[in-house]
Symmetry: C2
Subunit: 267 residues, 2 copies
């Protein structure tokens, strides 16, 4: 069970101190944080809380949104926060098309430019930027990086220690080219983060909050875990689920189900 990590978004309403205690009691050794946590608790206290319980911070979500005004300063701050809290990777969601634009190429070029601007600061801070391709249904409003191949192509100009990618089963499961790209990501040492959620149908309005705990949907999660392993990844497996019905339930119950789902469908 040691590779299981709980992404904090899965139990959104579980206060961080309780979550940390719950994870420690359940034998979970890693937690993926969000910048909301840092805003609420402060980076140093959050880091101390987690470290004192014997847990590691596996990632910080998130930077990105490079088409939003102020993106540069905001991402510099996010990198600094990741360093302060001891997160090895800062997950980046690129942002969608600027308002009124239909130019995907331009938006993607802007992401490439932003990475070039940020990578040196990230490298200096000891934080790896982790480009997350989101499902193509988010292409217009959240993330113009819509495939693992695009994410790897964007990472390519940069040192692997400074820029990696996220493999998230929810976003990539439909793509028959993903297996080759995971192997490529391994060869290029780019796998910075591996996140797991299941796909449920029908999707809710807005499509953001329709994910399932591992095993509740139709994704062959184990195939993904085996693929990242075969690519040389041996890091944490973060369960990250956004879903109203999961959020409405007690944290300990959700953690127990996430652990059981991980054991039965991922490990």
């Amino acid at each position: 069970m040691t590779r299981f990590a709980l992404n904090r978004a899965t139990t959104k309403h579980w206060p961080l101190p309780d979550l940390v205690r719950g994870c420690a009691e359940a034998g979970v050794t890693g937690v993926g944080l969000w910048r909301d946590d840092i805003a609420e608790y402060g980076a140093a206290p959050a880091a101390e809380l987690i470290r004192d319980a014997g847990l590691a911070v596996t990632s910080l979500c998130r930077g990105g949104f490079f088409t939003t005004p102020g993106w540069y300063d905001e991402n510099r701050r996010a990198i600094d926060e990741a360093a302060e809290v001891g997160a090895p990777a800062l997950v980046l969601v690129s942002g969608g098309l600027p308002p009124g634009s239909r130019d995907l190429n331009a938006a993607r070029a802007q992401v490439a430019g932003a990475l070039a601007d940020l990578a040196p600061h990230a490298a200096a801070a000891g934080v790896r930027l982790a480009i997350e391709p989101l499902h193509p249904m988010f292409c217009s409003d959240r993330c113009v990086v819509a495939s693992l191949k695009q994410a790897l192509d964007l990472a390519e100009p940069h040192p692997a220690a400074a820029v990696g990618i996220v493999v998230d089963t929810y976003h990539l499961w439909w793509d028959d080219t993903v297996w080759d790209q995971i192997a490529r990501a391994g060869r290029e040492q780019r796998i910075a983060c591996f996140q797991v959620a299941d796909w449920l149908t029908p999707l809710p309005a807005g499509v953001l909050l329709g994910r399932g705990l591992p095993g509740t949907g139709c994704v062959d999660l184990r195939r993904f875990r085996e693929a990242v392993d075969a690519a040389g990844y041996s890091g944490p497996v973060e369960v990250e689920v956004f879903a109203d019905d999961v959020w409405s339930r007690p944290g300990p119950e959700v953690l127990a189900e996430a652990l059981a789902g991980y054991r039965d469908h991922v490990a």
Copy 2:
């Protein structure tokens, strides 16, 4: 304006005789039909109605759903209906994963097998099977064919006259490999149908009925039209929009807007 065709689903509640008259009055020369129309009016009467108004049937939607029991007979019937109504192409939506399955490879292999079973009958009937890749958000429940490349790979074993593909802007706009694949589709003479709808955010629950009339969303529709033209396609441009707010409005008003959107954003 001669390439504009109205897919009947765009004005779902406009009775077919009124739609035919409205199209003829607006100078529209092509209509994409659905099997519902044939069920309601009969193939021969529907064909006569359309022909007498000087219109062509540009396509019939739809066959497919190859993981549903009875798919073979149902698709044979759909092919026959397409022939009876004079539709050159039968649009195929493959169907999603079978209930309880997580095996996308198996589902895609089943599609390949179904095409092999149906292509001879289609060829004999003078109807072209047109494989439609749907947006990956439909991969689990409607269509395991999630990219134009997959559709072209599935078409490849068959004569181009028997099996082609559909280029639908709504489903493919996010994919940066689509331009190469459209060029390939042209080289391989596979473009059986070109459908246009725009992408709107946020998506509604279920995500099926969130499309926009041309020009109301973020898709570079003209780039698609130019790409299919450059690939040698000179057939109809079907505007096909599924959306509750479009369906709730009078057919003539929607047709006028579709025509204006086509003129300003596609032609």
